[in-house]
């Protein structure tokens, strides 16, 4: 019998499968489809200090093997997340959840994380310093090592749970930013967030997205994600949550071989609402096919020799 268990900063996960923030809401809607307690955990919808509607529509554009989104952090704000969303989640999810937090200033990040820190349902923070859809917002932090370090420092000061910093791939050297976060006490990093992309409508001759550019996700970006996870694994000692185009159990194994301790599944949830359940079902059989007994053993395996 193979083992799919992994340990993420002191909390054991039954498996490394984590639905990515923004593709799984606050979980309870997926609970109507399958038992979400089968997941390793999930990262809830990016939460900000205040309620946000996000960007104008259209917010979605299709691409070859992927999609663009420019949702722009629509969320009810941290107060309502605590008063409405977490209680609803408690009714269908008995594991620790990952709190995904975004902001527009160091203070925002600290404020929102501090508010959420007392919630016993929360096991980890995932601080998104890389959302490409917010003008003058999150992006700046994620593409600059100094800002990334400052956010990390501020959040660590007000939290007692493990903090993962979610990094942008739209940078010249992601390892420099990962190292800056590690130096300020980040417990881990998640990567990659979406690539900044664009599509143009040939009929209207205008960008498809009202916001013009959006975050590119899906299988198309997997090779870039694998490369960055591989690079960051060499650069830091803290655990990596790998993501980017993961759709199958094979993809999960490939991402872990590159250096991921856990793996997030994003766009795939939007095409197949049962994607994570299906991956978890396939994982043991796939491990046997590739002669893997304990998933923990393959983390960073592609770096050997």
């Amino acid at each position: 019998m193979v083992s799919t268990k992994v340990n993420l900063c002191g909390i054991e996960l039954d498996n490394p499968i984590i639905p990515a923030s923004g593709t799984f809401g606050f979980g309870y809607e997926f609970a109507d489809l399958y038992d979400i307690n089968r997941l390793g955990t999930f990262s809830f919808k990016g939460t900000t200090r205040d309620e946000r509607f996000g960007n104008p529509t259209p917010r979605i554009a299709e691409c070859e093997s992927g999609m663009l989104n420019s949702v722009g952090l629509q969320n009810p704000g941290v107060e309502k997340v605590i008063s409405h969303e977490l209680p609803k989640l408690r009714e269908c999810f008995n594991k620790k959840v990952m709190a995904n937090v975004s902001g527009f200033s160091i203070e925002d990040y600290a404020y929102t994380c501090e508010k959420l820190n007392d919630q016993d349902q929360i096991g980890w923070f995932e601080v998104n310093i890389s959302c490409p859809n917010v003008h003058g917002g999150g992006l700046a932090f994620g593409t600059n090592a100094k800002n990334a370090a400052e956010v990390t420092k501020a959040v660590k000061k007000v939290t007692t749970k493990p903090v993962f910093i979610k990094l942008s791939p739209n940078v010249t050297d992601i390892t420099e930013i990962a190292k800056a976060c590690e130096a300020e006490g980040a417990d881990g990093v998640s990567l990659i967030n979406t690539l900044l992309g664009m599509r143009i409508d040939l009929k209207t001759k205008k960008p498809i997205l009202a916001n013009k550019m959006g975050g590119f996700s899906g299988p198309a970006i997997k090779p870039v994600a694998l490369r960055m996870v591989y690079q960051v694994y060499d650069a830091v000692k803290i655990p990596i949550i790998g993501m980017g185009g993961v759709e199958t159990a094979e993809d999960v194994i490939e991402m872990m071989l590159a250096g991921a301790t856990a793996v997030q599944v994003g766009a795939a949830n939007l095409v197949n609402p049962y994607a994570c359940r299906d991956i978890i079902n396939m994982l043991p059989k796939t491990m046997e096919k590739y002669k893997i007994n304990d998933l923990k053993d393959i983390i960073g395996g592609a770096h050997n020799g």
């Binding site: 593709t23 979605i60 999609m67 989104n69 498809i208 609402p273």
Partner: protein, 242 residues
Amino acid sequence: MTQGIYKILYNFALTDTVYSMVLEGNTSALIAPGQFVNIKLEGKFLRRPISVCDFNDKTITIIYKVVGEGTAQMSKMKAGETLDVLVGLGNGFNPEKAGEKPLLIGGGVGIPPLYNLCKELLKMGKKPTVILGFNTKSEIFYDKAFKELGVDVIVTTVDGSQGVKGFVTDAFPEDYDYFFTCGPMPMFKAIEKVAKTSGQYSFEERMGCGFGACMGCSCKTKYGNKRICKDGPVLYREEIIW
């Protein structure tokens, strides 16, 4: 919502660009007229949301317009082939709200969801009037299907090549006590100007998932943000912010 593999029983053209497809499979998730399905196509990343025209306990009829590669691909599929479909998406129309004489207003490919609604209203003993708007005669479809239900059907064409010349609003009857509509935004704006009663509008938006997960198709209403795919596509006139 249910996910399943559905078998194509029929797939044929109603006009040069509008096709009708009948799918066989589990329809238990369909609970109201005006809901939609979301179809996975080989080689396309996102599913294609298509409104349900009619359904029974075994089959679903959808009517779609060829607008891009995806729908062109669908139009080439043959009976016997199968599709991965999410069924029972969206809130659908609420016929309970209708009075005795509801008005159904459809524009182009917005017409199909009104068909099953019309059948429901008749079952409830109401007397619907149907206005079907097209650009020109060659684009007309389903006018006979509605007539066969035994309701008054008014066809309008912008160029006057058949029926009333002009827009659906040029054919509004005096006597109606509620309305249901689906069609393009300019038609909605025109209806909003002339309509004298309450009503329900079925909206379109580019969707990511189609079941409420991605927030791709959100809109603001007087009662807060709603997701067209899950809280809609049907919104009440009273809550819409134009």
